[in-house]
């Protein structure tokens, strides 16, 4: 992955009447990286991607893609982009192979070249057997894979994906993540919007969080994690009720806070990493056997909840609405 930028978004905004959907956001994407753009529904993700790809006109600001002003010279910028929208937008009546060939033709690919590439992509995406089946007969996962294949048929330098794993089964979602990593290895820059935080955590090099049309955080996964990390946390699961011992534990291990999770579970929150054996010995001395001791690390979801203030419960509901992937 190179550190040179391929995309530069500066003070980008979009207003619909009095409503500001995107409020002067700025970020850059490095060549060859997977850049995640995360936010809840209505945060401004799709509006931002639409402005970057030329489906929406910015109210202000600029988008530069590989040195091309993508607002003023949108068609030139589109020639190096691959675009995979949140809903599969291929032609239902046409089969998979013809759909791919048609998409290749829109980028000026000659017949022999696009047919060869379509065959290769059908193979790569595990769709070779379905190549002559009409698109309308494809399952959701197959539709999504073919839409991604259509987005890369012309070998774009940058691929934009809007919610690529929403509403598809676990296996297809896994395959898509794998394909995106393969594309990255071949040097394609990927911009991905999603509200599946785990997806972003697994595949993205850098992430920007958007909420209410503003970018509220931007950085690598580990940088973002650090922002909510409050030291060392360890969860203990025992054979007895640990609640009465919480106060004693806290006194005994100075500098740690004890949080009772359930009767049989407590979490020790310490400023620094502590050795486990004194804890286990102490509890053993009290006649308590510890079945499990597990280090609790903050997740990207914790970062998101912490930064945006959006409750985890609301986020879960959005995921459920979005589909079954994971």
């Amino acid at each position: 992955m190179s550190t040179t930028g391929i995309v530069s978004v500066t003070n980008l905004s979009k207003c619909y009447g009095n409503f500001t959907a995107v409020n002067g956001i700025s970020f850059s994407i490095r060549r060859g990286e997977i850049f995640g753009f995360l936010g809840p529904n209505g945060a401004g993700k799709t509006t931002t991607i639409n402005m970057m790809i030329g489906l929406a006109r910015p109210s202000g600001g600029s988008v530069e893609i590989d040195g091309i002003d993508a607002v003023k010279n949108v068609k030139k910028a589109q020639s190096i982009m691959g675009i995979v929208p949140d809903e599969s937008n291929l032609y239902d009546e046409m089969d998979g192979f013809d759909n791919l060939c048609f998409c290749g033709s829109l980028y000026g690919m000659r017949k022999a070249e696009r047919e060869q590439r379509a065959k290769a992509l059908l193979s790569q995406f595990d769709l070779a057997k379905a190549g002559k089946r009409p698109f309308k007969a494809y399952s959701k996962g197959m539709r999504r894979k073919l839409t991604i294949a259509a987005g890369i048929i012309h070998r774009p330098e940058i691929l934009f994906l809007d919610e690529p794993t929403t509403g598809i089964d676990v296996e297809s979602a896994r395959q898509i993540r794998h394909l995106l990593l393969e594309l990255k290895q071949r040097g394609t820059t990927i911009f991905i919007t999603t509200h599946y935080i785990e997806d972003a955590e697994r595949i993205c090099d850098r992430i920007a969080f958007i909420a209410g049309g503003n970018i509220v955080a931007n950085g690598t996964v580990s940088e973002l994690m650090q922002s909510v990390s409050h030291g060392y946390a360890i969860r203990l699961t025992a054979n007895q009720n640990l609640e009465p011992l919480a106060g004693d534990l806290q006194q005994h291990f100075d500098g740690c806070t004890v949080k009772v999770d359930t009767n049989h579970e407590v979490t020790l929150l310490c400023e620094e990493r502590i050795p486990l054996s004194p804890v286990l010995q102490y509890l053993d001395g009290k006649g308590i056997s510890v079945f499990e001791a597990k280090e609790i690390r903050p997740t990207l979801e914790d970062v998101f909840v912490n930064i945006t203030g959006i409750e985890a419960e609301k986020l879960k509901k959005e995921k459920e609405k979005g589909g079954v992937a994971k």
């Binding site: 639409n50 790809i53 030329g54 489906l55 929406a56 006109r57 068609k75 030139k76 589109q78 020639s79 982009m81 675009i83 929208p85 809903e87 937008n89 291929l90 032609y91 239902d92 009546e93 046409m94 048609f102 998409c103 033709s105 829109l106 980028y107 000026g108 690919m109 000659r110 259509a150």
Partner: protein, 247 residues
């Protein structure tokens, strides 16, 4: 070359996906034939095959109008609804190339529709005396302007049924005002200016002149006015697409 590849493939895709479907082919054949038979029965109280020539301009104009306007409006609205139209908007081809490719399919379908009554008529009357060059030009220009009207509808409609409703809303009044059934000169005075604002009026007049020798306006003037209509509608459609579809 790249533009031409994209243009040709959009046109080919539209013809295969929409225009060559059995319902549309049967519509293209049955509609003009039904109108021909209906008009023959209506005229002079019985079937008189020599009347076919007199019916040809009207039948051809109507076939083109009905074939082009609704087809383009419906196919574009259908693609917009399924979001496959976004794929065309996102392709690195100019908007005018994409629009021209979409229009071409409907224009070809209109031309096919126009010549169904001609083929039917050729079995019964001698068509050698007709000025075919002018007829071809007239049919082409009617097809272009009607298709552009269809595009204008497509830009305004969000649903397929809206596109069909809008098409009928202007198509039927247009039929009665363009001199097809009644000469423009016999229309009430207040309606005549409206007649002259309709491209079909000039197309019908041009066809009437070429087939029957009864054109009321100079053919060159009709051609020029139809060209102006085509250019204005094309420009207006592009402007509307940019304004309404690229938000």
């Amino acid at each position: 070359m790249k533009t031409w590849i994209a243009f040709w493939n959009i046109l080919k895709k539209d013809i295969q996906n929409y225009y060559l479907k059995p319902p549309n082919i049967s519509w293209g054949i049955i509609f003009p034939l039904s109108w021909t038979l209906m008009q023959l029965i209506r005229s002079s109280g019985g079937m008189n095959l020599s009347d076919i020539r007199a019916l040809l301009p009207g039948l051809m104009a109507m076939s083109v109008l009905f074939g082009t306007t609704s087809m383009l409006a419906v196919t574009i609205t259908f693609e917009r609804k399924g979001r496959s139209f976004d794929r065309l908007l996102l392709a690195p081809i100019s908007l005018s190339t994409m629009v021209a490719a979409k229009l071409s399919g409907a224009i070809l379908f209109g031309l096919f529709n126009a010549f169904v009554p001609v083929i039917f008529a050729s079995f019964f009357i001698d068509l050698a005396v007709i000025s075919w060059g002018v007829v071809l030009l007239a049919v082409f220009l009617i097809a272009v302007t009607s298709t552009l009207l269809g595009l204008l509808i497509a830009v305004s409609a969000k649903e397929v049924f809206e596109a069909q409703t809008f098409s009928n809303f202007f198509r039927f009044p247009m039929l009665f005002l363009c001199g097809l059934f009644l000469p423009v000169s016999s229309l009430p005075v207040f309606l005549r200016p409206i007649s002259y604002l309709l491209p079909l009026t000039y197309g019908t007049d041009l066809l009437g002149g070429a087939i029957l020798g009864v054109g009321t306006l100079p053919p060159v003037l009709c051609v020029l006015i139809l060209l102006v209509f085509a250019i204005v509608l094309f420009t207006f459609c592009q402007y509307n697409i940019r304004r309404k579809w690229i938000l």
